[in-house]
């Protein structure tokens, strides 16, 4: 039977309860149990192979690039854990059936439980490091769902969040560790990794690997100082606790220790850290357990303490310590699961978990009480029970280790103290709950639970006894096969028997038991002593820590980002300064080898005008109308400069755009304050900005100079050569625009079109402030359309249109072209608006810009697509010469169609922009929509 099914069946099984969740709890429970039971059978069927060291395994490719594959294998360790996970899992399913109330969402509960189960199975069976981590994190996630099952309770939410955060953090550390292992070994295949222990131990990364992997293990198995999350996970339903904190979740941590024991252990570092952490956890857990009044609280801390015990054993440098650890993993799983279930029963049937109120329950539920007492004694390590055996082994190993060098004698003593504490809290569990007087005002009178709710407990307790009495027979072989996994180079001999004769370990046990009894008997003093210390609620501490983090983050954030554009722009410019400045600073000399042209007066005058104009614009920027005049001077000179430097097309374009821009600015100024104060100019700010601005100017200027003086070889000669022959035009620039690089122009008119749409949105339903007077308090002229202007412009219109047509047609061969022509037409039409007013224009057919732009863009596009007919790419131009009588020889070029598109788009866009804005100054403004702020 394929190993893949073991994790896969429960995974599919996670869907079952979602389907059967609506039916009776019996149906739901049984249907849920079905697939895991099947998986368990598969596992059992695989046992012989594992025992015979023929490890079953499967392997499928998944993400080769990352070395991530779907591969599982089952060695002794995996087998043991599979049995625990599935076996106890099934019992928990049965138990939960009676624990959950009909109001609970049973389907969701079982689903998450089974999901968790399959995640655990994935962890213990993984044969690929990354896949192992995959399932590892999956356990964190699914346990989050389980712990937060009663999500309306704040405790559940916080507890779950804490568990997720802590184990999640550990998971990240583990990921790092595993990836490092992969780096060192060169593969993520676990079996290969397990075979290369020396490579790992010798590598420089070894310490990092150990620490990261251990972080993962310790956070998961609640080792000190990461133990604080576990008690708060108790806000989960008890079946969950019984599962997570006995056999699974927390055991995943120690599983990891066992898994990497062969390759990572056997070094000072490992033994040092693991043993110390384990010891600390053992004692801290045991001591705190003693003072918990909550039944589950006590069990939670005892769990921590026992996990510490197991960890400690993995940290002892003796041959059999690891075996003992594994043995205790089994025992603890068994008795702790039964204890949690018992606690759940008590809670369920008496309505309370507070040991100060729960007393003398024995007479109410004698049967359950007996079971619980047996389990508790096993927890205490009483002979004839499984707990005793593994504790004996611990004592034995504690005596034979040299982990701490000359201080190694400390360990046995501390271990005995831990044992005594264990006895003490076990005693308390037994005595306080079942005897010690009468129950104190419980919500309901306690009674035995339903028959089948007890069955799981019975089975587990029976196991405690069987293992305790016939250890070799029950678990001997299993331990041996696990030993093979842990110690590839041969398992040392070990004997599991109750009686090893009178020896020191036995003595230690006696001391532990006696000490424990004494402790419990004298507990009042202990409690009094403990009560001097303030109770710290880890949950609150944790939440506060997070809160603190959040608040600090908000402070830092508001400090970095104060929401001021001036800061944003400043940083942007500064970044650009670095980008330009650093290379320039490393440039020996700006001037290149090119011979520089003579200075002529015109240039000087032009440059002078530009400089003066720019500075003036800046100086009078608070008197806006004036600054407009200044900047328009600059614009004019720039266009003249273009003409001067033999770029007539540029000059024309710049000029016409200049006009449009200035009209735009004037219109804008109508809606914006015309004069502003210098309030915002604080001297330090001005200095700062001046420095930045000057540097920017200096850098750009230098770059410009360097550019101008360095020789270049360009692709331009091609355009000169092919403009006429290939493009059919003598105006190279225009041919570039409509042919060589027509695609740019295509994009350019698209921008115009989009801008028109956007501006329409901007102006839709705008709530305006319009000045009643100009800035000097003079009222605006009431006469809208001066007659003179009207007459002139009206007569000008045909002329303007004629000119634009001429400019358009000659464009391909002489300066001009669609764009300039379009602008001229547009401006001429705008002039009509200005002269006659919007109403007059509307009566003569309001131009709908959507039509203009749309048609223009379509024509441009079609002229490009047209070339597909001739098996040529987009925008391939075609031209030829014809001659008609009368007209003479003339040229037709597809580029002209494209240019027509440009022409129309430009008209549409310019008109829509200027006219729509202009309309706002009149009563024809679009009405404001009811939506606040207007819909755009």
């Amino acid at each position: 039977m394929n190993l893949l099914w073991v994790p896969l069946l429960p995974l599919l099984g996670a869907l079952v309860p979602l389907l059967t969740g609506k039916m009776s709890r019996n149906v739901c429970a049984w249907s849920t149990a079905l697939l895991p039971a099947f998986a368990l059978m598969i596992v059992i069927s695989l046992i012989p192979g594992v025992m015979a060291q023929q490890l079953p395994s499967v392997h499928y490719e998944w993400v080769p690039v990352l070395g991530l594959s779907i591969s599982f294998f089952m060695d002794g360790l995996g087998l043991l854990f599979c049995l625990l996970i599935l076996g106890i899992g099934l019992l928990v399913i049965l138990y939960a059936r009676y624990y959950l109330s009909p109001t609970d969402n049973v389907g969701r509960f079982y689903s998450s439980l089974i999901l968790f189960m399959s995640a655990m199975l994935g962890v213990v069976l993984s044969a690929n490091l990354i896949q192992l981590w995959f399932f590892w994190e999956l356990t964190s996630v699914s346990s989050f769902l389980l712990i937060s099952f009663w999500s309306d309770k704040s405790d559940a939410r916080k507890g779950a969040r804490m568990a997720l955060t802590v184990t999640g953090a550990g998971g990240l550390a583990l990921l790092a560790g595993l990836l490092l292992i992969g780096q060192v070994v060169g593969t993520y295949d676990l079996q290969a990794v397990l075979a290369s222990g020396d490579t790992l131990r010798d590598s420089a990364l070894y310490p990092a690997i150990v620490i990261l992997v251990l972080l993962g293990a310790f956070t998961k198995s609640a080792q000190f100082p990461f133990h604080f999350w576990l008690p708060h996970a108790m806000s989960a339903p008890t079946p969950v606790s019984a599962y997570l904190h006995s056999a699974t979740m927390v055991k995943a941590g120690v599983f990891l220790l066992a898994r990497f024991y062969p390759v990572l252990s056997h070094t000072e570092l490992w033994f040092g850290i693991v043993s110390m952490v384990g010891l600390a956890t053992l004692l801290v857990g045991a001591y705190s357990a003693l003072f918990k009044h909550d039944l589950k609280g006590l069990l939670a801390y005892s769990t921590i303490s026992h996990l510490g015990l197991i960890t400690l054993l993995f940290g002892l440098d003796t041959d059999l310590a690891a075996i003992a650890a594994v043995f205790h993993i089994i025992n603890h799983a068994v008795f702790k699961a039964s204890l949690f279930m018992a606690a759940g029963i008590i809670d369920h049937e008496s309505g309370s978990r507070d040991m100060r109120r729960l007393n003398g329950l024995f007479k109410y539920m004698p049967y359950t009480a007996t079971l619980a007492m047996v389990a508790a004694s096993s927890m205490a390590g009483v002979p004839l029970l499984n707990g005793f055996l593994s504790k004996e082994m611990l004592f034995t190993e504690a005596l034979h280790q040299e982990t701490l060098g000359s201080m190694s004698w400390l360990i046995p003593i501390l271990v005995v103290i831990g044992g005594a504490l264990a006895v003490a809290y076990s005693l308390r569990f037994i005595h306080d709950v079942f005897f010690n007087g009468e129950p104190i005002n419980l919500p309901k009178t306690p009674h035995e639970p339903p028959r089948y709710m007890r069955v799981p407990v019975e089975i587990l307790v029976l196991l405690c006894l069987l293992v305790g009495i016939f250890p070799q027979f029950i678990v001997g072989d299993l331990l041996l096969s696990v030993g093979h996994a842990l110690m590839p180079n041969g398992v040392p001999y070990f004997s599991l028997s109750i009686w090893h004769g009178f020896n020191i370990p036995l003595l230690m046990s006696v001391i532990a038991v006696a000490g424990g009894m004494a402790l419990y008997y004298q507990r009042r003093h202990l409690f009094a002593f403990q009560s001097q210390f303030a109770q710290v609620d880890a949950k609150r501490v944790f939440e506060n820590a997070i809160q603190w983090l959040v608040i600090k983050a908000q402070l830092v954030h508001s400090w970095i980002d104060n929401g001021s554009f001036q800061r944003y722009a400043m940083w942007l410019v500064v970044a650009a300064l670095f980008a330009m400045g650093v290379p320039l600073l490393n440039m020996p000399e700006a001037a290149g080898t090119l011979p520089q042209t003579q200075v002529d007066p015109v240039i000087v005058i032009g440059a002078g005008l530009i400089i003066i104009g720019s500075i003036a614009t800046t100086l009078v920027s608070h008197r806006r109308l004036l600054s407009l005049v200044m900047i328009s001077i600059v614009g004019l000179v720039v266009s003249i400069a273009f003409a001067w430097f033999s770029a007539p097309d540029l000059a024309l374009t710049q000029l016409s755009v200049e006009v449009a821009t200035i009209i735009l600015f004037l219109l804008a100024l109508y809606f914006l304050p015309q004069k502003i104060a210098h309030l915002h100019l604080s001297p330090p700010r001005v200095v700062r900005d001046l420095v930045i601005a000057t540097l920017a100017g200096a850098f750009v200027g230098t770059l410009c100079y360097a550019m101008l003086t360095h020789p270049m070889t360009s692709i331009s000669d091609f355009f000169v050569a092919n403009s006429k022959t290939g493009g059919g035009g003598t105006n190279i620039v225009n041919v570039i625009l409509v042919d060589f690089r027509g695609f740019d122009t295509f994009g350019e008119i698209t921008v115009l079109g989009i801008a028109a749409l956007g501006i329409y949105k901007l102006l839709a339903g705008i709530r305006l402030f319009v000045p009643a007077t100009d800035s000097d308090g003079r009222p605006w002229a009431s006469e809208k359309n001066p007659l003179m202007l009207a007459q002139i412009s009206q007569s000008l219109l045909p002329l303007a249109l004629l000119v634009s047509a001429y400019i358009f047609l000659r464009g391909h061969n002489l300066p001009g072209g669609g764009f300039i022509a379009g602008l001229i037409t547009a401006i001429a039409l705008i002039q009509q608006y200005i002269a006659h007013g919007v109403g007059w224009m509307r009566d003569r057919g309001d131009l709908n810009f959507q039509w203009f732009i749309g048609t223009g863009l379509l024509i441009a596009c079609l002229s490009g697509v047209g070339s597909w007919v001739f098996e040529r790419p987009f925008l391939t131009s075609w031209f030829d010469y014809f001659s008609l009588p009368g007209v003479g020889k003339f040229e037709l070029a597809s580029a002209m169609v494209f240019d027509l598109g440009v022409y129309l788009t430009v008209i549409g866009a310019t008109l829509s922009i200027l006219a729509n804005l202009g309309k706002l100054t009149t009563s024809d403004r679009p009405v404001r929509s009811p939506v606040k702020g207007g819909r755009l």
Binding site: S614, L650, K675, A677, G697, F719, S723, V733, F769
Partner: protein
């Protein structure tokens, strides 16, 4: 001459950057316009400066590098669209936020001699 040209560009950039770092939308757009002039000159310069040489074929002589000219032309047009959008956005912002500060936070006494009335009121009068 190249030097003078470069200096002019540099000064334009300086002034425009200073304007960009001001707090009023109008001023910033003004700066952007100035900056785009400078950038166009800069881009134009990437082809080198040619006095009285031909842009049109067949009138002989040397040719100015036509490619930067075409690029600048496109840049001018796009710049126009952008400036228009920015300006009108500035108006919109003034309308929505009640002031023409780029951060939308009014500064008292910032605006001089400007009595604005609701557009609708004025239309009715």
């Amino acid at each position: 001459m190249e030097l003078i040209y470069a200096i002019a560009v540099g000064v334009m950039v300086t002034c425009s950057v200073f304007l960009l770092l001001r707090g009023h939308t109008f001023t910033i757009v003004l700066g952007l316009t100035l900056l785009s002039y400078a950038v166009n000159l800069f881009l134009f310069a990437s082809g080198g400066l040619r006095l009285n040489s031909a842009a049109i074929l067949n009138d002989g002589g040397t040719y100015a590098d036509p490619l930067p000219q075409a690029l600048v032309l496109t840049a001018i047009v796009i710049g126009f669209a952008m400036t228009a959008f920015a300006l009108i956005l500035a108006i919109r912002a003034r309308a929505d936020l009640g002031n023409d500060q780029v951060d939308g936070k009014a500064i008292p006494g910032d605006v001089l001699g400007d009595k604005t009335v609701s557009a609708d009121k004025r239309a009715n009068s």
